[in-house]
Structures are given as structure tokens and as C-alpha cells.
């Protein structure tokens, strides 16, 4: 099968194309390391992925959504940054927050901002959270064969004024949740959230209505995860989305 036909990375295409033999024979072609087929390189071939870890928690309330995320970026056992914001504003009522590979996260967030702008110009209105949720799902699935290494939560206020959280896997399967946790500390955080907002063994979910209580819970959860997860720490970034817009604040947590 001719795979070239549906590759759109033009830069790479040029690199992989075999150069025409020069008509001037005395010019010696310098071998370029990129000219070699990537598959012949190391075992396993081309690897664009690295996990920069990080944890993010989102909790929906009656008329707000709260995101609590850490700000650490690491590679292996090294910390690359201690104040990276993994949450991006998409519209006045909607933010996206992700854990995973920073390069992919930034690309994805930038792309979504571009798409929101396109939407605004075409339809003369701001996209709702519901349509952004579907959009993000399709965007992620569009990279089914070279997925974004990003684990996302899309949080916003829906048309009824209720908080909503949409959780995704890497290839764009998504679901509406009332709370979610993604990233390196997701396994540590999920049971705590269950306990606080569902109560074990109950599937009935009611939305909390007090911002300050939820904020404390969010901070506590990130703090607890930071105790045990080496990739989580430094600062907790709280983003609150409600009808008045978006507020961001940061607090230091353990840095070791």
C-alpha cells in the first residue's frame, strides 16, 4: 500500500524522497542523517514520544467547574519545570487541562484555540462546551495512527449554567463526567474523588454547590498525590470557571 498518499507532513516527505542523481558527476552528495529511513535506525524505529507526567483534577459543581493541577514537568527523574500551567482557556466558559507529553499538549491546546477562533468567525458565536467536547474527540481521533500523548479533561459551564467535565483517553473516546482525574497521579486520585463526591458503592451523583469546599478538596487531593507520586508537586494551580469568567490562583506544595 502506498502510504505516502495520505501523509500530510510535507517537511518529512521532502526529506525522505530519494534525491535525483545529480547530473554533475563530480559533486559528491553528503550523507544526511535524516535521509536514512527512520525504520532502519534503532530497534523499534521512530519514537516521538516522551512522558512529561503531571496530574490534573477537575470537579464539576452546580454552577462552576474547578480544576486543580500541579505544575511540574519532568523527564525521567529530572524536573524540567516547576511552574508550567497545564490548563488553557478556550472560551470564557471553557478550559482544557491535560497531562502527558508537553509538546503534544501545547500543540493540541494551540490547535483548539485556532479552531475556536474559526468557529467564532464562521458562526458569529462562541462554541458551547458540548460542541467543543465533540470537537476535541474528533481532533484526538484524527490522530488515531499517531496519537497525541495527552490525557485531557475539558471543563466548562454548559448551556444550562451547570458545571460539566468531559474526560478523554488518548485517542478520543470521551464521556461526560462530574469529576475526573488525569495524568500520572490518576490512579492515586480517582478513589479519593469517588469517596468524596460519590460515596463508594453509589452510582448516583449529585453536584456539590460550594466552591470553597470543592477548592479545599481539590487542593487536598493534589497534595495527597504529591506525597506518593514523584512526578507531581511544586505548585497547585486552581482554575475556577463560573458565570463570571475564569479565575486562576496558585499555591505552593511540596517541591521534593
Amino acid at each position: 500500500m502506498d502510504l505516502e498518499n495520505y501523509t500530510n507532513v510535507n517537511i518529512f516527505k521532502k526529506v525522505y524522497e530519494k534525491r535525483e542523481v545529480s547530473s554533475i558527476h563530480n559533486v559528491v552528495e553528503q550523507p544526511h542523517h535524516l535521509l536514512k529511513d527512520n525504520t532502519q535506525h534503532a530497534k523499534g524505529g521512530f519514537n516521538p514520544y516522551v512522558n512529561n507526567q503531571g496530574t490534573t483534577v477537575a470537579i464539576a459543581g452546580k454552577d462552576f467547574v474547578l480544576v486543580a493541577a500541579d505544575t511540574r514537568i519532568s523527564q525521567g527523574f529530572n524536573i524540567l519545570s516547576r511552574d508550567y500551567s497545564r490548563t488553557t482557556k478556550l472560551t470564557d466558559q471553557c478550559v482544557i487541562t491535560s497531562g502527558g507529553m508537553v509538546a503534544d499538549i501545547e500543540t493540541l491546546h494551540k490547535l483548539l484555540i485556532a479552531k475556536v477562533k474559526t468557529y467564532q468567525r464562521q458562526f458569529k458565536k462562541t462554541p458551547t462546551v458540548e460542541s467543543l467536547a465533540q470537537l476535541l474527540g474528533n481532533t484526538l481521533y484524527g490522530r488515531r495512527f499517531m496519537p497525541y500523548y495527552a490525557f485531557n479533561l475539558l471543563c466548562g459551564i454548559d448551556q444550562n449554567g451547570q458545571g460539566s467535565v468531559y474526560g478523554y483517553d488518548a485517542i478520543g473516546s470521551w464521556d461526560k463526567l462530574t469529576y475526573g482525574v488525569q495524568g500520572s497521579g490518576s490512579e492515586l486520585g480517582a478513589p479519593i474523588l469517588d469517596n468524596q463526591f460519590v460515596g463508594h458503592n453509589y452510582l448516583v451523583k449529585t453536584l456539590p454547590d460550594d466552591v470553597s469546599v470543592v477548592e479545599d478538596t481539590g487542593k487536598d487531593i493534589i497534595n495527597s498525590i504529591a506525597e506518593r507520586d514523584i512526578y507531581t508537586g511544586d505548585q497547585v494551580e486552581i482554575v475556577i470557571v463560573d458565570k463570571n469568567g475564569i479565575r486562576v490562583k496558585r499555591e505552593p506544595i511540596r517541591r521534593d
Partner: protein, 303 residues
């Protein structure tokens, strides 16, 4: 449909608008003014142009090798939502679909309340087993194609045709790493019918299927109690029963049961939305006089 601006949503959603073939290359397309402007502003050249319906591939020749080695390259990436018990069977009043609601990533339960029946449109249903994203995306794609067919031809496509669309897509992507095992059911002029389609492009018309990791356990209950001339009530109870016992034995299934009924005259109904399987298990066991903990006949030994 040669106007490529058909449907304003084109540049916004990744949904295909031009061709039934997902392989069409849109990269040669001219960019609209807005796209130009945005590319300058945001600097997403290339990324943005590849909109439409063109999957971005890894640079290099060995795409399949790339997909296969994803697991080592990006550890958590391939832990897509997986694990299921879904079942569907034909009986005299149509087709009954019963599913559980658990999504697992490795051993971790990512959700206990997933909607595994995809309501494609008002006469088609698809179930979800394997990669959640693959099922959801392609079944929605089929929904769109069905609508296009309806607009063009003034009548709804048959279930056979709609299921063939999905099977054709799976054939095109065979060996590329998609993961899907779906029961495609719906009701048309000829009544309700049931197909099984998977990522190897298998498409089987049949009477009784159970798909997913808990499917083998569900078959046990189904095959024992299945009769074609069941009433709807009996069928619903059988569905619940089979899912409950499968979720008990299989750790990757659980959560709640959802039951759909596809009638013989062109519509489906949601019969039960979310019954907790754990409560059902205790209820069934206690009806038998057991405690539900599975320690009957064992000495009550603690140490």
C-alpha cells in the same frame, strides 16, 4: 457533492464531508482565507491543513510497525478504554441488546457508567467492545453516511447496507491497529436484524451474539435459556441475568446494565437505563437463599 464547502462544519469538525472513502487526500485542497489568517496568527501550519478526514501518520515507511511498537514507546498511551460484556439476540419481538458499563485501562477502572450502546440514529443501534474511541467514531461516521444516503435517495438505508458500510471501513483499515467488536442492529422494512462486525472486517448475520471479555460467561446463561418465541419481558430478564453473571465472573465488566429493544417496525426503545449489577447480584443470590458473598458451604474461618 463536488462542492467541497458542503456543510459549513467542514473546517470545524473532523467529520468527513466529501467522500465515502476515508483515504481521500485533502492536503491538496486550497485553504480558505480564514485558515490562511489563522495560520499566520497561531502558527499551526500543516496541522490545520490536514483537517477534513485525513489521518495523520507517523513519518517513515513502517506505519504498521510504528503502531505495533507504540506500547513500548508511550507506556500509558495504548491503555485505551477496553473491556466489556455486550450481548444481543433476536427473538420474536425483535432484537434485545444488553450491555454492561465498565471501562478499564489496564487494571484501573476508568468508569463504571459508560454508554456502550451507541444510538446511531432512530432505527440503528451499535454496541461497543474493544477500543471505545474506534467504535464511537466509526459508528457515528456510519450515522452520517446513513443520513447522506437518506437525503440523496429519499429512503432510509437497510440495516444490511449500513452494516456493510462499517464492515467496508474495517476492511480498509485492516491490520492498522483498530480494535472493534460491535453488534450492529436495527430495524428496517424487513424487520429487525442483527450483525456482528469486528476489526478484521468480519461481518456475520446471526441470531445470538455475546462480545467482549465477559462474552464467554454470558453465552453460558444465554444458550441455556434462549428461546426464539420469548416474550419481551422474558427476553429482558434473560439479558439482565446474562450480563449480571458475566460481570460477576469477569473483572473487566461491571457497573450497570443497560437494555435496549429493537422492535420489528422501525424503531428502538431504551428499556432499562442503569441497573446496578452489584445490587442485582445480591438480589439474585438472596432469592436462592444465599448471602451473595459466595461463601456458602465453607466453614466460617477467619484465621
Amino acid at each position: 457533492m463536488d462542492n467541497e464547502n458542503f456543510g459549513l462544519a467542514k473546517s470545524f469538525s473532523s467529520a468527513p464531508v466529501l467522500s465515502i472513502s476515508p483515504h481521500t487526500n485533502f492536503s491538496q485542497k486550497e485553504q480558505t482565507d480564514i485558515e490562511h489568517e489563522l495560520n499566520e496568527q497561531v502558527g499551526t501550519t500543516g496541522e490545520y491543513v490536514s483537517e477534513g478526514f485525513c489521518f495523520k501518520l507517523a513519518p517513515g515507511q513502517d506505519q504498521i510497525g510504528f503502531m505495533r511498537s507504540l506500547k513500548e514507546k508511550a507506556p500509558k498511551l495504548t491503555d485505551f478504554a477496553k473491556g466489556t460484556t455486550t450481548l444481543a439476540f433476536e427473538f420474536q419481538e425483535g432484537v434485545l441488546v444488553a450491555v454492561d458499563a465498565r471501562a478499564t485501562m489496564g487494571a484501573f477502572i476508568s468508569s463504571n457508567n459508560v454508554r456502550k450502546v451507541i444510538e446511531i440514529n432512530d432505527f440503528l443501534l451499535g454496541t461497543m467492545a474493544g477500543g471505545a474511541a474506534d467504535c464511537m467514531f466509526w459508528e457515528k461516521y456510519v450515522a452520517m453516511q446513513c443520513r447522506v444516503y437518506e437525503l440523496r435517495n429519499g429512503e432510509k438505508p437497510s440495516v444490511a447496507m449500513a452494516s456493510m458500510m462499517l464492515a467496508s471501513i474495517m476492511r480498509q483499515y485492516r491490520g492498522q491497529g483498530l480494535s472493534m467488536g460491535t453488534m450492529f442492529t436495527g430495524s428496517d422494512k424487513t424487520g429487525a436484524s442483527l450483525y456482528y462486525i469486528d476489526n478484521d472486517a468480519t461481518r456475520v448475520k446471526g441470531r445470538l451474539f455475546a462480545v467482549g471479555s465477559g462474552g464467554t460467561f454470558a453465552y453460558g446463561v444465554l444458550d441455556t435459556n434462549y428461546r426464539y418465541d420469548m416474550s419481551l419481558d422474558e427476553a429482558v430478564n434473560l439479558g439482565i441475568r446474562a450480563i449480571t453473571s458475566a460481570t460477576f465472573k469477569d473483572s473487566a465488566s461491571g457497573g450497570v446494565v443497560r437494555i435496549y429493544h429493537v422492535t420489528n417496525h422501525g424503531k428502538w426503545n431504551l428499556i432499562h437505563d442503569a441497573i446496578d449489577v452489584s445490587e442485582l447480584h445480591y438480589q439474585f443470590e438472596q432469592n436462592k437463599g444465599h448471602t451473595g458473598r459466595g461463601n456458602e458451604g465453607k466453614p466460617n474461618k477467619y484465621l
